[in-house]
Symmetry: C2
């Protein structure tokens, strides 16, 4: 907390002992760039980048988990796009979600930070405040909205995770998505010749019902599917929210016959 919100501390002024050669901000910045390059952080890598022994970091940061929390909060400073509340809130929410996905895709290591014990740092908080500001304009009780926001975050993180993992797989295995799918499809057909009989609905689900016009050419199949899925999910969720707002705080949660 102290570290996250940069509250002044006893430790900050005049103490015996040698001068400090680093700052927490330096460490966090270095860690982020190391993590972005390697896909993950390690105390040793960060220390090396800073020209320091691994153990030196431990006088600034209690452990790696805390460092990750600091890095996590820090990158959320980059989504700070102030937008007017009120006008076209739906579009604003969709934009918010897609920006967040992009953020996590470009900093995939951030996805290992848990929601179970939230970080509660200033930048992440700003981001959430902004989202709620857009959504609150509707007549939705806080309990319902809280849950919807939770779901929204799951959608964003899941989407980002899938995209990031797809890239990572391609990078480390050297096998491109197309090659992989082809390979796997072949292996599956060989191993399970009666697939279509055993899983007719699944086969139907994979039917392509739209012009395959990929709007963003550079990205992979998974990337496009995941983003489309997010968009659809968002639309459905927001539709649902609007409808629920009409009913105003009554029986959601149980739809018994």
């Amino acid at each position: 907390m102290r570290l996250l919100w940069r509250s002044p501390d006893d430790r900050d002024r005049r103490r015996p002992g040698p001068k400090r050669r680093l700052t927490v901000d330096q460490i966090v910045t270095a860690s982020i760039s190391v993590a972005d390059e390697n896909g993950d952080v390690s105390m040793r890598a960060v220390a090396e980048r800073l020209g320091v022994t691994p153990m030196a970091l431990y006088s600034y940061v209690p452990d790696k988990e805390t460092l990750l929390a600091l890095m996590y909060d820090s990158i959320h400073a980059d989504v700070s796009d102030p937008q007017r509340v009120g006008a076209d809130w739906r579009r604003a929410v969709v934009t918010w979600a897609e920006e967040l996905v992009d953020l996590y895709v470009s900093h995939p290591w951030a996805l290992q930070v848990s929601y179970a014990r939230p970080v509660l740092g200033p930048h992440e908080q700003v981001m959430l405040e902004r989202l709620v500001a857009h959504l609150r304009s509707e007549a939705i009780p806080p309990g319902l909205l809280r849950r919807a926001v939770g779901m929204l975050l799951h959608a964003v993180r899941g989407t980002a995770r899938t995209i990031a993992e797809a890239r990572e797989s391609a990078r480390t295995s050297g096998v491109s998505e197309e090659e992989w799918w082809e390979e796997v499809a072949g292996a599956l057909a060989a191993a399970v010749p009666d697939f279509a009989d055993r899983f007719p609905h699944t086969v139907w689900l994979l039917t392509d019902d739209e012009a395959a016009g990929g709007d963003e050419a550079g990205d992979g199949y998974v990337d496009r599917q995941a983003r489309a899925s997010l968009r659809v999910g968002l639309e459905l969720l927001l539709d649902g929210l609007v409808a629920a707002a009409g009913l105003t705080e009554s029986d959601h949660g149980d739809s018994a016959p």
Copy 2:
């Protein structure tokens, strides 16, 4: 693939060399029980349980990732609840999702298996087939449904992940959820006295608007919130799907002004 679908193989019959002392099934079963006990697998732990050298496993399974895929598919055999298609499909889908959450909560290690390069094993496939069977009864184009299913899976996995992480944190740190929240709330109040001024919407969002009747007493706060969030999210998604089915395969995906 071969391993997942248990296709017969050259390797299965008469070869020179000593007799095999294990089977893949034994290894997978042992791995699952080890993982369930320790929260994660390691080749060494599995080998020890089987009374064998770590390296011995490598003649059955090419690497740990493959082993995880096998374990992952294997646990999906446990959700095999055949239900009649047609009658109350909404409830069926909700049940399906909640069972899946329970599955992942009791086997949290399964969440490290990626969606980017799907496992495509038989048991997972059965589970998906079942879901699609319920959902397909509506007049929804496959492309839309495919995306909705993706979102649904993100919701389930996100929910399970959060719950599992909450338990894991409590277990390893020894600090209960309540204690942690109290601690953190105190630290936050101390570090950011003007929180309510800076984040009014967030504060509003945390307003408790319902009788705090926890129906399941034993579970933690995170657990209840996460499950409630899933339920709400599902309702919204399914509502949205029904509505979209009415419009029949027209303009979803872009809601331009």
